[in-house]
């Protein structure tokens, strides 16, 4: 709806190729960054969960964020999207500062995230989950709610768009079931479809593939690639190296809260520091993060 999200959706097919000129060092500047963060720190008591000196995410690319469990990936997501406050540091989305913005305002700017632990709205139907995500609904105002004739047209249009997305994510047959009856993998799909329903400029996915069966993983990957091709920037957390190397344009490696390396998949594969800190020593099982965070 908003002009900035339209701008964000402008097809920029060759933008991820432009990363070719970027040198693979931590904190490298990108030609057209959609998200920028500097000096971001977040600590819990004595533990510094995130300490990122500088990070830029190139517009229109798929960027993977990897790192061992507890590296601070989810915490970084939280502070960037306004779900947690950074102790110090600045971040900007599409050139505008995100300072002090709460979660919903960040989302309205077009930076939409999903959660590591799936948050399907269980007692709402799949369709309601989708419709909830649509932007700028008149009927969502308390007074407007009493005048159905005003918002009925809008609702029908949203429903059509939701239907198309559900179709794409193979959830259309479940549209009237409550989301609580979906399988874990289907919930992940629904959460992603719902995020797309809100027309993001950039989408941040926290372990979208964890717990999803391999067949669905394949289709999820296709969705992510096609999102990029539509001009949406994607930042995602993942543990499965094959997946990461397969679809990422750029990879950022986090360890103990710091960016220890970034670069194209080939750069990362051969980076000795990464192998020492991560790949060589403790290769995480996909989904292993879930148990640790169940709380």
């Amino acid at each position: 709806m908003s002009s900035e999200s339209m701008a964000g959706r402008m097809p920029a097919p060759e933008s991820h190729d432009r990363l070719s000129g970027v040198s693979p060092v931590p904190g490298a500047a990108k030609p057209d960054p959609v998200l920028r963060a500097s000096g971001v720190r977040r600590s819990f008591g004595g533990l510094t969960a995130v300490d990122v000196e500088h990070l830029e995410v190139q517009r229109g690319t798929i960027t993977a964020l990897i790192g061992p469990n507890g590296a601070g990936k989810s915490t970084l997501f939280n502070v960037l999207t306004g779900f947690d406050r950074m102790d110090s540091g600045v971040s900007a989305f599409q050139g505008r500062s995100l300072r002090g913005l709460s979660g919903h305002r960040v989302a309205r700017r077009g930076l939409v995230r999903t959660f590591q632990l799936t948050k399907a709205l269980t007692r709402l139907t799949v369709m309601e989950n989708m419709l909830l995500a649509a932007r700028g609904q008149t009927g969502e105002r308390m007074v407007g709610a009493f005048a159905p004739w005003i918002w009925r047209g809008q609702e029908a249009a949203n429903r059509e768009r939701a239907e198309a997305l559900l179709e794409r994510f193979r959830l259309a047959h479940m549209r009237d079931e409550i989301a609580g009856s979906l399988s874990g993998g289907q919930r992940k799909l629904l959460e992603m479809a719902r995020a797309l329903m809100s027309e993001p400029t950039m989408i941040m996915l926290d372990e979208p593939m964890a717990g999803v069966n391999p067949v669905l993983v394949q289709s999820l990957l296709e969705h992510i690639t096609s999102l990029r091709d539509e001009g949406v920037s994607v930042l995602f957390v993942e543990h499965d190296m094959d997946v990461i190397m397969g679809i990422s344009d750029w990879i950022v490696v986090l360890a103990e809260g710091r960016v220890i390396a970034e670069g194209r998949p080939d750069d990362i594969r051969s980076n000795q520091q990464v192998i020492d800190a991560y790949l060589g020593t403790q290769h995480d099982e996909p989904g292993a993060g879930g148990a640790e965070e169940g709380r």
Partner: protein
């Protein structure tokens, strides 16, 4: 191993049955008499009225009469405990009033227990009003005041803990010291009672709304044993120990036979809150039904001469309560800090899943937490009853302060509950230096809300994580 468990279960069942049996044995067996029974009251509805005559008789013999003073108060001394007949002389009522239809001008059987100051409430009404009140559907009154019916009239009165007794004339610094001392005592009583509340929350994520009534339970059990309502009277110290044991059994029993099964059935937390509210109602009103709605004091340790410590005065009773409270809190803290089970309790309270995955038997630890909580509640109840009076709503009124203490300290942390309880007790008492006594609980609760504004996770609490 299995056999041991079965024996233990049978033991618990038997003991619970004993508790139930004790509860069911009604009435107060005659206890030896400390003298000083009175009947008294205040006529103040709709306003205080002077010069109304009240006559007390028994079996047709007049025992005494009294006339209300300028505050509407009257009092008749009684020769001994027993059942009396109390009548308000309608002739003495000024013309602009009539005697309210309920409770009327006559009380047929007013039971007075040994040493009791029994209050009898008469009400006046304006002649016009009387009709309307009568035409209300019968459940109206009960419905409108679910907490305030079903017992003797005085229970509707507010039950805030009494303010410290300091002579008005004393200098401010003396009053400050004196009040601080009462505040610390009161705070430690809150702390003792609420350690369990906080640990229970930590281990099960559940707010136990029945916690206050577990306090009342302890106080009432001690009362029952010490006055010889059942069996023979035992010294209060022994009665207190018995009460603590029963409190522990009550806590452990609730966990074992109610909460654990519910948890294993995956009942949602909110439903659990409601169940605890239900249990609180059951416990509170059973205690009311069997012990009556009057305020009573323990027979022992009542009339004591003040100890003087510099500018401070304290009864040996309150001094012992304070000293014992410190001991108990230190002992509990030491237990939590140094023993295996104590460490396990804190671990489970901190993160149930993590504790479980590192091999702690979470169910067992939870059972111990409830048992400990129940015992501490009972002890807190005895102390509170000694410090103030024993009555059926004492725990419920303490519950809000315990909540405030636990929230102040940070839900789920044992030490937080101790610190928070102490702060709340101090705030409640100190507020009386500047503000009306009746608002002392309001101040304590207000402090809690202010702290939540500044530090939502409480003083010692930790923030929840997102995502």
């Amino acid at each position: 191993m299995r056999k041991g468990a079965r024996v233990r279960r049978r033991l618990v069942t038997v003991l619970l049955a004993v508790i139930a049996a004790i509860l069911v044995i009604p009435a107060y067996a005659a206890a030896d008499d400390q003298g000083g029974e009175t009947l008294s009251g205040q006529i103040r509805d709709p306003e205080t009225v002077e010069g109304i005559e009240i006559t007390v008789s028994r079996d047709g013999d007049e025992i005494g009469t009294a006339t209300t003073d300028s505050d509407g108060e009257w009092e008749v001394e009684l020769p001994e405990p027993g059942t009396y007949h109390v009548v308000l002389d309608q002739e003495s009522v000024p013309d602009e009033y009539v005697v309210a239809e309920t409770p009327g001008a006559e009380f047929d059987e007013v039971e007075v227990r040994p040493g009791q100051d029994r209050a009898v409430i008469f009400r006046l009404a304006l002649p016009g009003e009387e009709e309307e009140e009568e035409s209300e559907p019968s459940p109206t009154e009960e419905g409108a005041e679910p907490g305030a019916d079903g017992g003797p009239p005085e229970e509707a009165e507010e039950e805030a803990p009494a303010a410290p007794e300091v002579e008005r004339g004393a200098s401010f610094s003396t009053r400050l010291l004196q009040t601080t001392l009462s505040g610390i005592t009161f705070g430690m009583i809150i702390a003792i009672s609420s350690v369990g509340l906080s640990l229970i929350f930590g281990t099960t994520r559940m707010i136990n709304f029945a916690h206050g009534d577990m306090v009342t339970f302890g106080a009432m059990m001690a009362l029952m044993f010490s006055t010889g309502m059942v069996f023979t009277a035992v010294p209060l110290v022994v009665a207190a120990v018995l009460a603590v044991v029963l409190g522990a059994l009550l806590g452990g029993g609730m966990e074992r036979f109610i909460w654990r099964p519910l948890r294993h059935r995956n009942v949602a937390l909110i439903q659990m809150f409601i169940v605890s509210i239900g249990l609180a109602l059951v416990l509170r009103h059973l205690l009311l039904a069997y012990f009556g709605g009057t305020r009573v004091r323990y027979d022992e340790f009542q009339l004591q001469s003040m100890l003087t410590l510099g500018p401070l005065q304290i009864t040996p009773r309150d001094a012992s309560i304070a000293a014992l409270s410190v001991l108990v809190l230190v002992a509990v803290a030491a237990m939590l800090q140094f023993t295996r089970i104590g460490k396990a309790m804190r671990a489970v309270a901190d993160n149930r899943d993590l504790a479980e995955s590192s091999g702690i038997n979470v169910d067992r630890v939870t059972l111990y937490v409830w048992t400990l909580g129940g015992a501490l509640c009972a002890l807190g109840g005895v102390f509170y009853g000694l410090n103030q009076t024993v009555y059926w709503q004492m725990g419920f009124h303490l519950l809000l302060l315990m909540f405030a203490g636990v929230i102040l300290g940070g839900l789920g942390t044992a030490y937080g509950a101790m610190v928070g309880g102490l702060v709340i007790g101090l705030v409640a008492m100190l507020s009386t230096l500047w503000f009306p006594v009746e608002l002392q609980n309001a101040w304590a609760l207000a402090i809690m809300i202010v702290v939540l504004l500044v530090r939502p996770q409480g003083i010692l609490g930790r923030r929840e994580r997102v995502g």
